[in-house]
């Protein structure tokens, strides 16, 4: 017999609903407020204009896209490894850092010799290649040393090993290269804007978006079209059956880590292009954000990771201004939340927690039953 709505409404459900509603309220109230900054109260409809011109929103959107495509590239590594081993590779963010940091020395050497601006595309390709090779090497060593011996261990054990590996990588690089920020050299042709159809877009951001879209397309083709890619998908579907079908599971896992590492290394250089500096701790937060992106898109799902990354990037760049700046609370914040950009990570983490609570299968994922989670 179906129980009535009130009977089913437990404390937990009420609490979860309240949580959802309050987030929704913040989003709606804040957005309304932002778009009516000129009006006296948030509810009167005046001319529905924000204090920001449309091109500001567009800039934010493009910035979000470029940031998001970097997240998406990192997220691929998380999602592929999780798909196969059901394990969070906590150190993946540091693989990203390792690629960016090592390639920094090549880029700096190019910068000193002038090669950087003499043949910018070749030098960028070389820097990207070095980052990808380093990151792949580190990802493979990581797999061999920290994860492979633990493949049959209970699930908490590899996670803790991964946390250990993350610390080890961060502080090894700190020991090698010092604890300061290093300024990434700039490619002259990537400074300034390109004007496309009357809209100015920062060149670095365009380069980042294009490069990561190309890489993702290549990767997607690899996974969908090649024999190795098919083997990868088979292993992530069912490891044991795949091994019965004659697939060398060890080899597939190594390849997965390698590809994930390469994508992360490339992402590292692209990230450094946008933010123009590297640091030994730079991988930590992008790593967690990329994991969020992977969960958001549905973990284990490659297109999901890409979409999740873009989504997260856009939310993070647009969110603080859209949701928070106009969030007027009478008596406390009469003109909206001060310094909303400080809270962009709060938005990302709130999204993470909400996805985990309310839709652990993510936007695209339906494969992940509670058993696998």
């Amino acid at each position: 017999m179906q129980r009535s709505f009130w009977q089913r409404l437990s404390i937990i459900n009420t609490y979860l609903w309240a949580f959802r509603l309050s987030v929704l309220l913040v989003v709606v109230w804040g957005s309304l407020g932002t778009f009516q900054a000129g009006c006296r109260s948030a509810l009167t409809i005046c001319d529905f204009k924000s204090k920001y011109a449309p091109n500001v929103w567009l800039d934010l959107l493009v910035f979000g896209l470029s940031q998001g495509s970097v997240y998406a590239l990192i997220a691929l590594g998380y999602t592929m490894v999780y798909g196969i081993l059901r394990m969070i590779n906590f150190a993946h963010g540091d693989v990203f850092m390792a690629g960016a940091y090592t390639a920094f020395y090549l880029a700096a050497a190019f910068g000193r010799s002038g090669f950087l601006n003499r043949s910018p595309l070749i030098s960028l390709a070389a820097v990207l290649a070095l980052a990808m090779i380093t990151a792949t090497a580190i990802a493979l060593i990581l797999e061999r040393v920290a994860y492979r011996p633990l493949r049959r261990a209970p699930r908490l054990v590899p996670l803790i090993s991964a946390i250990g590996a993350s610390f080890f990588l961060e502080y090894a690089f700190r020991g090698f290269f010092g604890s300061g920020f290093q300024a990434y050299p700039e490619w002259q042709i990537f400074t300034g804007e390109w004007v496309i159809a009357g809209i100015g877009i920062l060149r670095t951001q365009a380069v980042v978006i294009v490069a990561s879209v190309l890489l993702m397309a290549a990767l997607y083709t690899f996974v969908m079209r090649t024999k190795t890619g098919t083997a990868m998908r088979a292993v992530s579907e069912d490891l044991e059956v795949a091994s019965l079908m004659g697939i060398d599971v060890d080899r597939v896992i190594v390849i997965t880590f390698g590809i994930g590492g390469a994508a992360a290394g490339a992402a590292g250089v692209l990230y450094a292009l946008v933010f123009k500096q590297v640091h030994f701790f730079m991988g930590f937060f992008p790593g967690i954000k990329a994991f969020t992106a992977a969960v958001l898109g549905g973990i284990g799902n490659i297109p999901g990771a890409m979409i999740g990354g873009l989504f997260l990037g856009i939310f993070e760049s647009v969110g603080p201004i859209l949701f928070l700046e106009g969030l007027r609370v009478p008596g406390i914040y009469p003109t909206g939340i001060p310094a909303p950009y400080q809270l962009k990570d709060v938005i990302a983490f709130t999204m993470l927690v909400m996805v985990l609570i309310f839709r652990p299968s993510g936007i695209l994922g339906e494969r992940l039953a509670t058993k696998k989670a």
Partner: protein, 565 residues
């Protein structure tokens, strides 16, 4: 023949890996930075000792793995040590060809001097020879019978420890007739001279050898006593530990008490997290949030500064902090009740970061002080006695740790504790057995959070001010690491873990730069070698060593799945 060659190849590649490790610690800066601390004056410093240990390790592992007689083992050790020397020499040669300093900031001339015995590339044969000697010594260690190896190892270890902590020991042994006599016998003002080192080594050697031969007799004697007397012996041991704990800050001075307070605070947090992770199997990476909540509650209630709201005394505010963090645990636990395993770890990490970012933000600054924090938190006062510094606050920490440990031990053996452990082993089965998962989980979050809140409350008065930067994710990870190193689910393990992971690095100040490097390596190695921790809980120990006849528990097939979330 081929297999033989293959095994020799393995010896060489194993040695080269150790050589790579030596080059790694050199480039990461450890050798030079640790070289400042002399172990035995004029003989060896900590940096060189590290390299020596790597050489010994190369020989040890090569000799242990091989088959064959003593001579083969020695040869294997020699070869592996030489290979390690080759690996380290590669760094020397490389440094002489290219300028490594442009990339590796630690590849300094001083480092190269240390490695090459001051001879540059000409030192390469010497490095290889030194590696071979160290490797052979390591191999010898595998050949010695236990009755010799044990005392010898104890002697060397204690000598190193005495040399390492010479400053501290000198402070403790500063005054008093017998104490200063011991000090003058062992130390000179600058540290541990070779004469003192030899003395310490010999004394420990003899004591350890005697104890080794007598131990079974003493043990047998104790075991033959009737149970009440056995309990008395155990009680005496406990009393001794309490007495040491009470007297340590008096003997050790300010620095020691500071370290001890930190150890105590981490023990408090560790006990709380142990309850969540070790007992109930709920992996929580946002644990620092409760610590922060406890600290902010006390700070806001007692502060005499701008953000203080009540100007209460610490003693009134602390119970409130406990209750607030208990409630926070419930609220925090409610939405994530249905999340399991790795996802739970990430969700809690997200929560912890949200709390920190909010405390740091400009938006909540009118209440929490933003990045400037809450200042002017007064010290606790009891009947005119002010707990003014770490030496006094240590006793608050000690008292609350003992109290909390007692509560945790009682909880572990209670019905609730059993329910937690059932849930840890398998949630679905536990639910089928009639355990109310919602209540049990919420209680785990709430009580665990309250323990950490207590730690936070003491932290607030210890510093006298609260900054959101103190509540970073690193704290959560530190706490997790210490309960894993100590032994998941084990109460003494928490204390052991915080002594090792908090106390030791604090004492070795030169080490602080490499603390997390060593942490990371320790966690990886620990998970492979000793996943049950240094002082595992009795049940875990029984599960992991099935061969010992201990009744029904050993027959459980869930041996390794105990920590499954």
């Amino acid at each position: 023949m081929r297999t033989d060659r293959g095994s020799w190849g393995k010896v060489i590649s194993g040695g080269l890996i150790f050589g790579g490790a030596a080059a790694f610690v050199s480039l990461a800066g450890m050798v030079e930075a640790l070289g400042v601390r002399e172990i035995v004056i004029g003989v060896i410093d900590l940096g060189r000792l590290l390299l020596l240990l790597i050489g010994l390790g190369a020989g040890y592992q090569a000799a242990r793995r091989g088959i064959g007689g003593a001579l083969t083992a020695l040869a294997r050790g020699l070869l592996a040590g030489a290979a390690a020397g080759v690996g380290l020499s590669a760094l020397l040669v490389l440094a002489s060809v290219v300028n490594l300093r442009g990339m590796f900031i630690n590849a300094s001339p001083t480092l190269l001097e240390i490695i090459s015995f001051g001879r540059g590339t000409a030192g390469v044969p010497l490095v290889i020879a030194a590696g071979a000697v160290a490797g052979a010594l390591g191999a010898v260690a595998t050949l010695l019978p236990g009755a010799v190896r044990g005392p010898l190892g104890a002697g060397v270890t204690v000598t190193i420890v005495v040399g390492l902590f010479q400053e501290l020991l000198q402070i403790i042994l500063q005054e008093g007739g017998i104490r200063s006599a011991i000090r003058q016998f062992i130390f000179v003002p600058e540290g541990l001279p070779p004469r003192g080192a030899l003395g310490v080594f010999l004394v420990v050697l003899v004591v350890s050898a005697v104890w080794r031969s007598r131990q079974p007799v003493v043990r047998g004697w104790i075991l033959k006593r009737p149970p009440p007397q056995q309990r008395l012996v155990r009680l005496l041991g406990l009393l001794l530990a309490v007495a040491v704990a009470l007297l340590l800050p008096l003997a050790g001075g300010l620095f020691i008490s500071q370290v001890l307070v930190l150890v105590g605070l981490y023990t408090l947090m560790g006990l709380g997290l142990n309850l969540e992770v070790g007992f109930a199997g709920l992996l929580d990476l946002g644990f620092v949030a409760f610590f922060a909540i406890g600290a902010y509650t006390v700070g806001l209630l007692t502060s005499t500064g701008q953000y203080g709201i009540a100007h209460w005394s610490f003693w009134a505010a602390m119970p409130v902090a406990l209750v607030v963090s208990l409630i926070a645990g419930f609220l925090f636990g409610l939405p994530i009740l249905r999340i399991r395993g790795d996802y739970l770890a990430i969700a809690t990490l997200g929560f912890g970061e949200i709390i920190r970012l909010l405390a740091l933000s400009e938006a909540l600054r009118p209440w929490f002080g933003g990045s400037q924090g809450v200042l002017f938190v007064p010290k606790p006062i009891i009947g005119g006695f002010e707990f003014s510094g770490p030496a006094q606050i240590y006793y608050i920490t000690l008292a609350s740790s003992v109290l909390i440990a007692f509560v945790a031990a009682r909880l572990r053996d209670s019905r609730l504790g059993r329910a937690w452990m059932a849930m840890r082993e398998d949630e679905d089965v536990a639910e089928a057995m009639g355990i109310n998962l919602v209540n049990v989980k919420l209680l785990a979050y709430g009580i665990g959070g309250a323990f950490a809140g207590m730690g936070g409350a003491i932290f607030a008065v210890l510093l006298g001010s609260i900054f959101p930067h103190s509540f970073s994710l690193l704290i959560s990870i530190n706490v997790l690491a210490l309960i894993i190193v100590g032994g998941m689910g084990s109460l003494p393990g928490v204390v052991v873990g915080s002594l090792f992971l908090v106390g030791l690095p604090e004492l070795l100040r030169e080490f602080s730069d490499f603390r997390f490097l060593v942490y990371g390596a320790a966690l990886i190695i620990m998970m492979q070698v000793k996943p049950e921790g240094l002082w595992p809980a009795a049940m875990v120990r029984r599960e992991l060593h099935k061969e010992e006849p201990v009744g029904v528990v050993a027959e459980e097939p869930a041996a390794v799945e105990r920590v499954e979330a």
